[in-house]
């Protein structure tokens, strides 16, 4: 960063202050900027664009643009006449989405999307912002950078999946774009306060087994390695979401997806996150825990060539331990992730002790479910495998497969109590907490926070306390 602002210019840009350090002046500044499609300016009452803190404006657009604001009253943002329209059109096309599909996602009419793609029209920034989010672009990069920070490889992968799989509807493509956008923003917010995802401590493993060493055995091994690295010993995972979001700092995006989808692991610009469906089989939080553990297996241990930016798991592929994988390469990847999931949640070395601590088989099975927070089918197979398949599999039955209130509370906590009420569930995770923290530290303006949580500023202010109570550092 260029460090040649005079004390007078520092005062003009950031308000009165003592320090000559640009970064610290910007961080403490109460100065508000506003951006539109084409310009950056000091905030003023009539301006309808997006408000930015001085810190944001400096980081996003640099000192030269702030100086331009001083000299001309506003700074020109587009790098050429065709931005941001060409970025929006190319991105939509590379995702294989129609104008109508984007309009539906953004809840505007088709004309507004068409206008945004017309270089001769200046659109309201709030519309551009929503379109950018729906295409997993960085809205702040619109106009100043061709491509606006979108991950092109992810777009290509989504389009290929969209055109290849019948279950992969345009709606699912839109939902996964939303997830990619949240993952990227959440990761950047965490990074901006110096918090890195702990995934860097894991070296992806290309070992998917061989005839003498099946993939599932390596899945068991990787589960143990994960527990060792995280110092979890043999204890139950009290909350998978809590572990992923609060300890590992992995974005977890809850969504209402078609029942056929269990979850996905997604990488956008190098930021990996997990998407979990809260509908279908995953309405049972014990199954959802398995899905989260399964996706964690992909996220931590699959090399990029297997992840290819996105792995989407069907509901019927989760919790399937009774089949040996066939010759298809992707089945080995899934078999390893499934074995990882169940071993990570309920290590065989302790499962049998819990099971045998009860006299009745039904009670023993239920005790395993309750102790480790795993589903009936997961508990059944894990007990069967832990006994070296000596226990009669058919005898492993239970009366009640529902999760207890404890597990419900541990995994479902933001779905029921969250405010603002209009915030989509995809944004009710730790993302919301990162937003509140960023506003408190002047890293983003509260109007950005409100727009990200799809609320008014008043609703956002009302919700701050609740969001802070749901999470912690």
């Amino acid at each position: 960063m260029e460090m040649n602002l005079s004390p007078k210019e520092l005062d003009q840009l950031f308000g009165p202050g003592e320090s000559n350090d640009i970064k610290s002046r910007a961080q403490k500044s109460e100065q508000i900027f506003v951006r539109s499609q084409d310009h950056l300016a000091f905030d003023s009452a009539p301006a309808t664009g997006l408000r930015l803190t001085a810190w944001q404006a400096l980081n996003l657009y640099g000192l030269d643009k702030l100086r331009e604001v001083l000299n001309y009253g506003s700074a020109i943002l587009p790098i050429c006449h065709n931005e941001p329209s060409s970025t929006l059109r190319e991105r939509r096309e590379s995702l294989g989405l129609s104008l109508i599909e984007v309009a539906k996602a953004v809840k505007v009419d088709e004309k507004a999307v068409r206008s945004a793609e017309d270089p001769n029209i200046r659109s309201p920034f709030s519309v551009l912002q929503r379109i950018a989010q729906s295409l997993a672009l960085d809205e702040f990069m619109l106009s100043i950078s061709h491509g606006a920070g979108g991950d092109e490889a992810l777009a290509v992968r989504l389009r290929k999946l969209g055109s290849g799989k019948a279950s992969f509807s345009p709606r699912l493509v839109r939902e996964l774009n939303e997830a990619a956008w949240v993952i990227q923003q959440q990761a950047q917010l965490s990074l901006s306060r110096g918090v890195k995802s702990m995934t860097e401590r894991f070296e992806p493993s290309p070992n998917y087994g061989n005839p003498d060493y099946p993939a599932y055995l390596h899945g068991y091994y990787l589960a143990k390695r994960t527990r060792d690295i995280l110092s979890l010993e043999q204890d139950p995972i009290s909350s998978m979401r809590g572990l992923l979001e609060n300890q590992l700092h992995i974005p977890v995006i809850q969504m209402e997806l078609p029942n056929s989808i269990a979850g996905a692991t997604l990488s956008s610009n190098g930021h990996r996150g997990i998407v979990v469906n809260v509908r279908g089989n995953n309405e049972n939080v014990l199954v959802r825990r398995s899905t989260l553990a399964h996706e964690l297996g992909h996220l931590l241990w699959d090399p990029d060539q297997h992840l290819k930016n996105l792995v989407v798991d069907d509901s019927d592929s989760i919790e399937r331990w009774d089949e040996e994988p066939n010759s298809s390469g992707s089945d080995y990847v899934e078999a390893r992730a499934n074995a990882f999931a169940v071993e990570f949640l309920a290590p065989r070395s302790v499962v049998l002790d819990v099971f045998t601590s009860e006299q009745e088989v039904r009670n023993g099975l239920r005790a395993v479910m309750e102790r480790f927070g795993i589903s009936f089918s997961a508990a059944r197979f894990q007990i069967f495998n832990a006994s070296d398949r000596k226990i009669d599999f058919a005898s492993l039955q239970v009366d009640d497969i529902k999760p207890s209130v404890t597990w419900l509370a541990a995994e479902d906590y933001t779905l029921d109590f969250f405010k603002p009420r209009n915030t989509p569930i995809s944004r009710r995770g730790r993302f919301a907490y990162e937003i509140v923290s960023a506003v408190k530290e002047h890293r983003i303006h509260e109007s950005v926070a409100a727009s990200w949580l799809q609320s008014s500023i008043d609703e956002y202010r009302d919700a701050i306390e609740i969001i802070q109570d749901l999470y912690h550092d």
């Binding site: 084409d38 310009h39 009539p46 301006a47 009253g73 020109i76 006449h81 309201p124």
Partner: protein, 226 residues
């Protein structure tokens, strides 16, 4: 019929001719006044819109100056003392006169707003309209290396200011890019363009950006020429 009309210039729109020496009877026994526009039915099927002799710059800006009063510059963003130094004709300052305006170079490229070499700063001062190239060799002696709008006024009151590009000797595009003499709204820019048009220029402005609450500094869409 054409012998009655002395054509001064053609605009882009061929139905709009700038003429003088129009036969009195064609205007219902009225004399054409300076700058007055007529739609003249010359007996042919088409109508010809005519403009009489352009107003002087002073006349053309009279109404504008009455509506939008002169203000002291906003110096809150001033960084260097020499931003109040009044430049002279030797430094390239000139007062706008009726066209044609003879310049060494005109802005020719599509994205003219993104270039600085042919960019002028303009100010509607209290008694004249002043312009000067913003950048150039002799600007390097200034502390910030290029002109400020207050260099065109010496810090005196003015009505408004911005940036300008001459596309040819009669065609000028302006915006309201000035932090010192910020145009107050889009109507103010409209009136300045009207005054330029009445003084014989074909003029347009770059519009208003509601998002930033300021005059647009770049072109979006077709310009509305006057």
């Amino acid at each position: 019929m054409s012998s009655l009309l002395t054509i001064l210039s053609f605009s882009q729109n061929p139905s709009c001719l700038v003429v003088k020496n129009v036969k009195k009877s064609l205007f219902s026994n009225r004399e054409a006044k300076h700058g007055e526009a007529f739609v003249l039915n010359i007996g042919l099927k088409s109508k010809i819109k005519m403009t009489s002799i352009p107003k002087t710059i002073d006349e053309a800006f009279m109404d504008y100056r009455t509506t939008y009063i002169a203000r002291s510059p906003d110096l809150s963003n001033m960084s260097y003392d020499d931003e109040l130094h009044l430049i002279t004709a030797e430094d390239g300052l000139f007062c706008l006169s009726n066209p044609p305006v003879e310049l060494e170079e005109y802005a020719r490229i599509e994205d003219f707003w993104n270039t600085s070499s042919q960019k002028y700063l303009w100010v509607v001062a209290k008694t004249d309209v002043r312009l000067a190239l913003e950048k150039g060799e002799n600007r390097k002696t200034l502390d910030r290396g290029f002109l400020s709008h207050t260099n065109l006024t010496g810090g005196d009151e003015a009505h408004s200011g911005g940036e300008a590009w001459f596309l040819d000797c009669r065609k000028v595009v302006i915006n309201g890019g000035s932090s010192r003499y910020k145009p107050r709204n889009e109507t103010e820019l409209d009136e300045i363009v009207t005054a330029l048009s009445e003084s014989g220029y074909m003029a347009a402005h770059l519009g208003w950006d509601e998002g930033s609450g300021r005059a647009s500094r770049i072109k979006r869409g077709e310009l509305r020429w006057k």
